[in-house]
């Protein structure tokens, strides 16, 4: 299982949980598994083409997947995946 850290605006999908467990061997499969558990969350993270939205950053163990293998980035049990809006919002 992969630990997924969820940003505040997406916690309405996770019942308020700031971290959840998900299954998968790549970032893409973890995101799909998240959507099975929390329907609708994938649409917020990915666009109609299935790509990560421009304003969303996903980190695996602190590394931005844009500099790894994007959605194909492999993950393994015990990894931590963080979903973070690219910019902060709110002033």
């Amino acid at each position: 299982m992969v630990q997924v850290r969820v940003p505040t605006p997406l916690r309405k999908f996770t019942g308020g949980a700031e971290a959840v467990q998900a299954e998968g061997t790549s970032v893409a499969s973890v995101v799909s598994n998240l959507d099975k558990q929390f329907p609708g969350i994938k649409d917020r993270i990915c666009d109609e083409q299935g790509q990560v939205r421009r304003f969303v950053n996903i980190f695996v163990n602190g590394e931005d997947i844009r500099f790894l293998q994007q959605l194909a980035t492999p993950v393994k049990a015990g990894d931590e995946l963080s979903i973070v809006p690219a910019i902060a919002g709110g002033r």
Partner: protein, 327 residues
């Protein structure tokens, strides 16, 4: 501590670029920003409807936030809440922090800023260049996380700090009531019919809207906000899911439009390439809203929209990275 903190006062010159004029301090050069007509990115707007963008990036700190920052500090000094030796602290995702850092440096007050760790690299470096101390809050908690952390820091040593508190300080909208509103009224010779601004603290839309409605109650005041809580529009708030600012009074708005991040990003690109205006994400959102309003109009109108900053302080963000892929 510097004696400058109490000695410096400023006046707002009527026209700093016309006739002999030397500013006594950078804070005197805040405001009096230009209006520019949007000629190309109109998307079917009737020809009798003018759209004018107020370019707040011309402020010395590079954004609209210079106005409330100056006013909040001015009022803090006048009320004796900000005295020599006190540190100015606030939570901010960027532009207010830059404004406070700049004004603090000019007046001799130390500045500490609490911001989410994911604000753009340029912003972090600009405030550091002004000598401000930056404290990072958890990026996953967004701007509300910065607000909470800032409260905690102040609670630990309340006598050390002066917190402008832009979300709840009436000096924030007052700055716009006293400057942005009158400037727009004069620059359009009273012809403004609609005012469009994005909402972060809501200070701009509240204060400017209030002034304009006082001059002409028929003027429509429209706010643009992110359409969803999960967005990429730096500086903006989705009100329904946020800690609602104390200065926000929704009943004073004639309309509030939700804008998608992708639509705003695409608009930023078009404004750069079709108008020669390199502006920030919130300007893209604002112009999307302005066009939406403009397309519904059948009579001649003058829409004024606020462009809070220029785009050069977002060059490291995914907005601009995505353009590199399309170049």
């Amino acid at each position: 501590m510097s004696t400058a903190a109490t000695a410096v006062r400023w006046s707002v010159p009527a026209g700093p670029t016309s006739g002999p004029f030397v500013a006594h301090s950078i804070v005197e050069l805040i405001g009096n920003t230009p209006l520019v007509e949007i000629r190309a990115v109109r998307d079917g707007v009737p020809s009798g409807v003018r759209i004018l963008a107020k370019l707040e990036g011309f402020n010395p700190g590079g954004s609209v936030k210079d106005r409330p920052a100056r006013k909040m500090i001015e009022v803090g000094l006048a009320q004796g809440k900000l005295v020599p030796g006190k540190t100015i602290i606030d939570s901010t995702s960027g532009n207010t922090g830059i404004a406070l850092a700049m004004i603090g440096a000019a007046l001799g007050h130390p500045v500490e800023l609490v911001m989410p760790g994911n604000v753009s690299a340029e912003r972090k470096r600009i405030v550091a260049a002004f000598g401000a101390k930056v404290i990072f809050s958890d990026p996953l908690e967004g701007s509300d996380g910065a607000i909470r952390l800032c409260r905690k820091i102040i609670a630990e040593s309340p006598d050390r700090y002066f917190k402008p508190d832009q979300y709840n300080n009436e000096a924030n909208p007052l700055a716009h009531f006293e400057t942005t509103g009158p400037e727009i009224w004069e620059q359009t010779e009273g012809r403004v019919t609609h005012f469009v601004a994005s909402i972060g603290t809501s200070g701009t839309v509240m204060g400017t809207g209030r002034y304009l409605k006082q001059r002409n109650p028929a003027i429509q005041v429209i706010a643009a906000e992110p359409e969803d809580a999960f967005h990429g529009l730096e500086g903006l708030k989705h009100m329904a899911s946020s800690i609602v600012p104390g200065i926000y009074h929704e009943e004073e708005l004639d309309a509030k439009l939700g804008i998608a991040t992708d639509e705003a990003y695409d608009m930023v690109l078009r404004l750069a390439r079709e108008e020669g205006l390199l502006v920030g994400q919130s300007c893209g959102a604002t112009h999307v809203a302005a066009l939406h309003v403009a397309r519904t109009l059948t009579a001649p109108a003058t829409i004024v929209e606020i462009f809070p900053d220029f785009g050069d302080r977002y060059l490291s963000t995914t907005l601009f990275q995505s353009w590199m892929d399309t170049a």
